[in-house]
């Protein structure tokens, strides 16, 4: 048989970091070189396979932040450091980093939507001189759901980071409310120079994009990332198809001018 793209290979778990009760970040030993925003198909033989976005990567490692939410991820959460999981990929496209140079960047991420853009944030965090301004807006359901607390802390020292929760508790001293409220407050002197990334649950993406459009940010300056069921990752299985577009091939990252036409 010719080279078989469906065959996964084993990768070792270097470390596991518990972000929340249900979100763990797995650092894996891997030589794959993904683009920022791509995904891999993760599997456990006998359990199943699912697409997971790569949240960060470096020389010889990749990182994925995985929520315990289904058949495969439930079992993934029982794994320990030193154990292995199977991956194939990377698949899809990534964020157009070149396009963001010398721009005023706003990254709006809802919940686990922060994972696929984490590597983008880190990329520009390490190269702040490449951009005019960097802003990160993140929203979570509650203080217990906040992901990447250490990174958020670190980032907030060097650029504008807003962390908001839908509902606070007695210990929460940060912002409360939906992301959209905080977009409204943004003041762009030149919206044409603003580049926006929006990733999160469908409703969050829809209304957040609307707020940016109201502020005068052009449609073509907005980038989103989609989440869909994908069984193959290589344009065959059909599950992620919208119109004539395969999210696994032409996405998951889309310019909004394209995304606005993709109706499921």
């Amino acid at each position: 048989m010719a080279q078989n793209p469906y065959l996964p290979h084993k990768v070792k778990i270097l470390s596991i970091k518990r972000q929340t009760k249900i979100d763990y970040t797995f650092k894996l030993e891997s030589s794959i070189k993904p683009d920022n925003g791509q995904f891999v198909e993760v599997s456990l033989p006998k359990i199943g396979e699912c697409p997971i976005s790569v949240s960060d990567f470096g020389d010889g490692w990749i990182e994925m932040t995985i929520r315990r939410v289904g058949r495969v991820t439930n079992v993934l959460h029982d794994l320990k450091e030193g154990d292995g999981m199977f991956i194939r990929g990377p698949y899809g496209n990534g964020f157009p980093l070149q396009k963001y140079k010398n721009k005023h960047i706003v990254i709006a991420a809802g919940g686990t939507g922060l994972a696929p853009v984490k590597s983008v944030v880190n990329y520009f965090y390490d190269r702040l001189d490449l951009v005019k301004q960097l802003n990160l807006l993140t929203g979570f359901k509650s203080p217990e759901d906040v992901l990447f607390k250490d990174e958020l802390e670190k980032w907030s020292k060097d650029f504008n980071v807003i962390v908001t929760v839908d509902q606070g508790n007695k210990d929460w001293t940060g912002d409360v409310g939906l992301i959209t409220e905080y977009v409204k407050d943004m003041d762009f002197s030149n919206p044409e120079e603003v580049e926006v990334i929006v990733v999160g649950p469908p409703m969050m993406m829809k209304f957040t994009v609307q707020e940016f459009l109201k502020l005068g940010v052009p449609e073509e300056n907005i980038t989103v990332s989609f989440e869909r069921k994908m069984c193959c990752g290589i344009g065959k299985c059909g599950h992620c198809k919208i119109d004539d577009t395969y999210v696994c091939l032409e996405g998951p990252v889309f310019n909004y001018t394209k995304a606005m036409e993709l109706i499921d």
Binding site: Q3, P45, G48, C231, K236, G238, D243
Partner: protein, 337 residues
């Protein structure tokens, strides 16, 4: 040549080929006392059903309903071996054209050809079965898939006589040996294709998002039961889902399979956590119709549907795909539906 003589050729071909054709499984039909005409292995020409349309298509030859991709034991993967024999499939023009649609998805879409599909497809040769007339719900003349030149053999049966056109050098060598000793006579044989169907429709040039909100789809929301038969009987439906199983006797061993998936069945888009798009049967019907008559063409340059009409034949709610397309054309023409 005679049936007996042709069966001798079949016996010879069976040494190198698996031969599949429409066969009749008595009493296996959906309703009691009915037969099921479907694809099966044959050993003689009398096994082949020429005068009825199969319920399921021939696609399972290259795209099995349930296909093992690899076995795993502990941490090792092993791919299943495949039969070295070639595959000869008796197929009508629409079905032969349908394989071109499957080729587009499996061999041309995405960065890699699908190796499982490819290894079976490379073995495949077609035996063209002519249609004397269109069958119930056929509309191949409207989809332009009533003719084909892609066949290795043409078989025509007339009473006790078999007429045969060989269109393949490999098969010619094999068959000509047998022919030499035959009492056959030479005739001029040209394939005959159906030129008219009872069901005719005009495929709209333009189907776009503006139709998404049309109330037309609501009718399907209430009529369609989401059984998926239309997808499973379709010769061009190519979607699949991955499935892992482990063996009860030894939970350390198992296999990863792919199984046919249906965009009309609940769960097709469901992700972990329960998020799902297209929750109503109306939206699912819209997705399927748009794929068959618009989306696929935008990507590959030709329509996906080959007009075999099987989906209409098997629908328990008597939903008609060509009627739906006709309505869309009426809407495009400004008519009210």
């Amino acid at each position: 040549m005679s049936t007996v003589e042709f069966n001798n050729i079949i016996s010879k071909l069976l040494l190198d080929y698996r031969i599949l054709a429409p066969v009749c499984l008595e009493g296996k039909g959906t309703f009691s006392g009915t037969d099921l005409v479907t694809y099966g292995d044959i050993e003689r020409i009398q096994d082949v059903v020429f005068d009825r349309k199969t319920v399921y298509s021939a696609k399972e030859v290259v795209f099995p309903p349930n296909e093992t991709m690899f076995y795993f034991t502990e941490e090792e993967f092993k791919q299943p071996s495949v039969d070295q024999k070639g595959i000869l499939v008796f197929a009508r023009p629409c079905d032969i054209n349908a394989f071109r649609r499957l080729d587009a998805i499996y061999l041309e879409s995405g960065p890699y050809p699908d190796p499982y599909y490819l290894q079976l497809r490379e073995k495949l040769k077609f035996v063209l079965m002519e249609c004397d007339h269109g069958f119930k719900n056929c509309f191949c003349t409207s989809t332009g898939t009533n003719e084909t030149g892609d066949f290795s053999l043409l078989i025509r049966t007339e009473e006790d006589q078999i007429f045969c056109l060989i269109n393949d050098a490999g098969l010619e060598d094999l068959i000509s040996e047998s022919l030499a000793s035959n009492s056959m006579r030479k005739v001029d044989l040209q394939p005959r294709f159906v030129q008219r169907n009872k069901t005719r429709l005009q495929i709209p040039d333009k189907l776009d998002n503006s139709l998404f909100a049309h109330p037309l789809w609501q009718e399907y929301a209430s009529r369609c039961t989401g059984c998926g038969r239309c997808n499973f009987s379709c010769p061009t439906c190519s979607c699949f889902t991955m499935q892992d199983v482990f063996y009860r006797d030894n939970p350390n061993c198992g296999e990863r399979r792919r199984v046919w998936a249906s965009c009309m069945i609940e769960g097709y888009t469901e992700m972990a956590g329960g998020q799902e798009v297209r929750k109503t049967q109306g939206e699912r019907m819209r997705f399927k119709v748009m794929h068959k008559f618009s989306d696929f063409k935008k990507r590959f340059g030709f329509h996906m549907c080959v007009g075999c009409g099987r989906c209409d034949n098997v629908c328990p709610e008597y939903i008609s795909l060509p009627r739906c397309v006709e309505k869309l054309q009426e809407i495009n023409n400004g008519g009210v539906s």
